[in-house]
């Protein structure tokens, strides 16, 4: 019995580790989509966040010689955020100001971002002449829990509640803050109005352009943090070209799965994380292990179909999602 429980807890902890990058990627995309922008470039944004976040930490440590956990976390977040915000700024400028197609521009950003991420990662590898990795101290500390060992040693719940990387707790914070922002603040309400019905928002005197830009840029920054979190929690703080591939697309799927709700993204990301690693941990008869990996997508498709079938107004994408809004069309 204890064995089962213990392995379940281990599974959950691992699921959280795999789910945390998704959580950030998803939260960022939720914010973006709430403004009516469908940014399909998340994959590219997360690659950029991963490479540039890692690069930030790596060069900071190398150049200053300071090995500091809090500073490393801060630099990782900041560098990744800036990279993602910049990428989304390109997207915003093209789709909002130059009125290009969101789908096509998003895909172009996915290609571009993946390229920039891999290019940056490779360049660092070439410059360094080997693996780009942080000091052993940081490599061990970053994915580990920030809480004292005593808390983690509490039977059962200790590992679960206090045994995760700091990024998971930051992710929870971000999700809760985003939920409060969207539901409880004036700006959040206005942002949702922009995504639902931009012409109504416009006629109410809300600057559709400003809201779209801000939400998309901040959302892109958040998504990019997911990239660097992935490098830290699951890729051992080193760069490899393929590691991140697919995470961004999974984040786009998760946005649909959790019906554009930041709080649902919390358990959704853990669930998707679990599905990603189940094949390593759990052997079930009849279900081939590799097929676990497609479960998130299958489930998402089912959610998508059901929500269109039931036509429940609360469970639909923002009404203006993917559509360009121009004032003259009013």
């Amino acid at each position: 019995m204890t064995d089962v429980l213990n392995s379940l807890i281990l599974l959950l902890v691992a699921a959280i580790a795999y789910g945390t990058p998704l959580l950030f990627g998803t939260l960022g995309e939720i914010l973006t989509e709430k403004s009516g922008n469908l940014n399909l470039g998340v994959e590219g944004i997360m690659f950029m966040g991963g490479a540039i976040g890692l690069g930030g930490m790596f060069y900071f440590e190398k150049l200053t010689g300071i090995t500091s956990y809090p500073l490393a976390v801060l630099i990782a977040l900041l560098a990744a955020f800036l990279a993602g915000a910049l990428a989304s700024l390109i997207f915003s400028f093209l789709t909002i100001t130059l009125r290009t197609s969101q789908n096509v521009t998003g895909l172009a950003l996915a290609i571009f971002g993946t390229g920039v991420g891999q290019f940056a990662g490779e360049m660092m590898r070439i410059r360094v002449g080997g693996y780009v990795s942080l000091s052993l101290e940081l490599t061990n500390a970053l994915p580990a829990s920030p809480f004292p060992q005593a808390l983690q040693d509490i039977p059962y719940i200790g590992k679960l509640l206090f045994g995760n990387s700091i990024f998971f707790y930051l992710g929870i914070l971000a999700a809760v803050l985003m939920h409060l922002f969207l539901k409880k603040t004036r700006k959040g309400l206005y942002l949702r109005a922009v995504g639902e019905n931009p012409s109504t928002a416009d006629s109410a005197g809300i600057s559709v352009t400003r809201y779209k830009y801000l939400a998309t840029v901040v959302g892109g920054g958040l998504s990019a943090i997911g990239g660097v979190v992935y490098i830290i929690t699951t890729a051992g703080c080193t760069w490899n070209n393929e590691g991140l591939s697919g995470v961004g697309w999974l984040a786009v799927a998760l946005v649909i799965f959790c019906l554009w709700r930041p709080l649902s993204a919390l358990w959704g990301s853990v669930l998707f994380g679990a599905l990603m690693i189940l094949y390593m941990r759990l052997q079930l008869p009849f279900i081939p292990t590799e097929l676990y990996k497609i479960l998130p997508y299958v489930v998402t498709v089912i959610v998508l179909i059901l929500s269109s079938l039931r036509n429940n107004k609360e469970k639909q994408p923002p009404e203006g999602l993917g559509l360009a809004y121009f004032r003259e069309d009013r």
Binding site: S101, N103, T105, A108, E122, G205, T289, I305
Partner: protein
Amino acid sequence: MAESIKAPLIRLEKRGENGLNPAAVWGIRLGSIAAALLLGCVAILLTGNNPIKAYGTMINGALGTAVYRQQTIKRAIPLLGCALAIAPCFKMRFWNIGAEGQITAGALAATFVARTCTGKLPSLPLLLLMALAAMVLGGLWGLIPGFFKAKWNTNETLFTLMMNYIIIGVVAWLQAGPWEAKQGRIAHFEEAAELPLVAGIHCGWIIVLALVLFMHVYMRHTKHGYEIAVIGDSLRTAQYAGMNVGRIMMRTMFLSGAISGLVGFIIASGTSHTLSREIAGGVGFTSITVAWLSQLNAFAMVAISLLLGILSKGAATLQTVMNVPVAISDIITGLLLFCMLGSEFFINYRLILRKKRGGKEARK
């Protein structure tokens, strides 16, 4: 709103009846390509190389010798084929971004036929059967989201996107499980299941060129093409004319998926000679931008897919010669797409700058 108190600094105006003259349009488009290449210089400079030399290397690597040219064309073939597949969907304003999956589905079906029928059939029937199977499975993979869109208006962008990863997951499973030969790879095809070479390149190039003609005729001269164009322009007009929009939507998605599936067969049988989860390798996504930038014109797609083929082959050479990461190709492709997408705005709109004085009075 505060901004509207005075006339805005820059005002937009849609270009009138005749728009820009063709020379200016092409000027803007070529200018955007030049701008992208210029921006690409920044990335090359970061590697400590001379951009002019780098671009020279790329062009040489892509077009310098017959073999290089063949390899460049090999890279352009799937892009072109897949862009052609996407064109009718986009013309209909059905945002099929599932070509990646439809390619994979086609390759999967072709591989299945190759595995089961090799040795039992001579080469030509075998290849034809592989192509047919690829088209059917690719078509079905496109039909599923098409069906739900037609029936319940399920969001096709997100649906087709998800379908990509489902089929890629299935291939990953086959690769590591039932079809595994060794080390998580599927065995190479027998020679009978490989596309024969014509002029040094697998004969897929003939297939896609035939597809160019087919798609041009299909879109411009057939009843189907006409229906697609009317639906894309106005759903209400299509209904007014008595078209069965749902059926046309499903039919078009099947066709689109089938052509993508055929491309999957070409890649599997012509290039990789095996199946793997990376078989589509992003072609499905890149080709969407090819189709879009060509404004769904089949002949323009030939040029743009060749351009991207040159970039990608050139970048591969750049890596071996100058040690510039091959990802530079994705960066330049991305920049190229950004600039070309953005340039359309300047073709369609005229910017009117506010006059220094009098702007305020004019609105009073």
